[in-house]
Symmetry: C2
Subunit: 293 residues, 2 copies
């Protein structure tokens, strides 16, 4: 049972873990660490954390688990900072959208203590960010991917699996590479495709007219184009290899579609659209949308 | 004031016009015509129409306005069928997603009576189809585009404008070509892009894994991939020229993005993503989503 947990980055992601843990019968003590003091104080005031700490040694003393819930780019510096204070039973995990790069950071910074680290990625989010956006139910029924390898201590895997299960999540495992390829395909590529469509439309002379008559299809397809540009630049660069594969593949699909349309090949278009429509409808039925409480 | 209207195709689109008109203080008599007798009888039973008619001459006698709300491909045959019974004061309009082809059908079938025809496109829809899906509020606050040209009688434009205003819609005008280009960009292209993404993912060896971990970004981006494949094949073929222009343009955008990512050009990616994100957020604020009653 967790007695104490340190969360780096008490925003939507880290804060929601904190709130979920606080709903447990015997919640751990939760210490928040971050660069933005105002944000940390807000997290404290909102009851997400029990203590806001700036002294890393103090924060880590007696802790069971360290959750890094900051932007991935901060991971190496955080790992470097905590390493001197890591005792053998402490477990470290993260919540980043990419895993190969995080594992490389962990390898570089933790040396032999890499066994105490396990990469994690909760597949959950909401439009708002920051501590005020945190929700105890954010992870209910959601998937979390952990990316252990042969060096990961079984205890680390168990502790972090249990942590996410306490948040109501369903925990799966993958290699970091498999993770990055899967999410390049189903998340990162769609975000980039939406960004470039809106960027292009907004550049046109008739942009005002286009946006005036854009309706529900545009709304849904481009919703993710309203995402945080800095975070997505970082994800794109972090997952460059897998994303370039996806872009190349998608380029081919656009090309093939273009040829079918040029040829007026209604039968082939029908096959593509039917295949897609059936797959999407089946997925929608298997994954009904839930409203977050 | 409309005393009688004939609707070809009393489904979601035609049926919702009927219901909107029935909410007027002195609604016109509404006659439904269609190929599917069961569906027409259902429309009658649901109170969408006052009469289900198979005899075209009977249907058209005394009518002020004829609304063609069938799939666009049926338009030429309908125009051919009604032409012998068109008196000079009758106005004909449609509700198809493409307008250049519809205008060409009207030119081919109506001869001098083309002046009585005005193309129309209500920018509204819902997931369900058929008479049971019809809603009187479907067009409230929605855009309708009319595509008159120099040959269109002012009376036709006025009558049809008024019809859609009675449905609660905001009526605009465009040339058929401008209409088809606008909707190629903001509606037709996104649908095709969503179809080919889902088609490709569903073909892969690891499709099951991909769909298992696809989440909210995928959900929104691909919602329109669940659209009716036959309707979209028809739209793609009908709007072939404008769509091919869009596909070519998008192909270039994908190519440029690929080069930026290959080069690790974070600054340029940031510019694209920021431009898109700002535009999409601004659009979302200017066009808040309303729930249909």
């Amino acid at each position: 049972m967790l007695k104490k947990i340190v969360i780096f980055g008490v925003g939507l992601i880290g804060g929601s873990v904190a709130l979920a843990l606080k709903q447990q019968p015997q919640p751990p003590r939760i210490v928040g660490v971050g660069r933005n003091q105002a944000s940390l104080q807000q997290a404290l005031a909102l009851g997400l954390i029990d203590q806001a700490e700036t002294d890393i040694e103090q924060a880590l003393t007696g802790t069971d688990l360290i959750l890094i819930a900051t932007p991935v780019a901060q991971t190496p510096a955080i790992l470097r900072t905590i390493r001197p204070y890591l005792s053998a039973e402490m477990v470290i995990t993260d919540a980043g959208s990419t895993k190969s790069d995080v594992m490389a950071y962990a390898e570089a910074e933790l040396g032999a203590q890499l066994s105490q680290f396990i990469g994690g990625h909760p597949i959950a989010g909401a439009e708002k960010s920051g501590p005020a956006a945190a929700m105890p139910s954010l992870y209910h029924g959601k998937n979390v991917i952990l990316t252990p390898d042969h060096r990961t201590a079984p205890e680390a895997l168990n502790k972090v699996t249990h942590l996410w299960q306490q948040c109501g999540a369903v925990v799966s495992q993958m290699t970091p590479q498999a993770h990055d390829e899967v999410f390049a395909a189903v998340s990162h590529l769609p975000h980039l495709l939406a960004f470039i469509l809106v960027d292009d439309l907004a550049k046109r002379d008739n942009a005002e007219c286009l946006f005036k008559f854009a309706a529900s299809g545009f709304r849904d397809f481009t919703r993710i184009a309203g995402s945080h540009p800095e975070m997505w630049r970082d994800i794109a660069l972090a997952n460059q290899a897998a994303l370039l594969q996806e872009l190349k593949r998608y380029q081919t699909a656009v090309s093939e579609l273009t040829h079918l349309l040029e040829a007026g090949n209604g039968e082939a278009l029908m096959r593509v659209f039917t295949h897609a429509s059936e797959a999407r409808i089946a997925w929608g039925e298997a994954n009904p949308q839930r409203k977050l409480q």
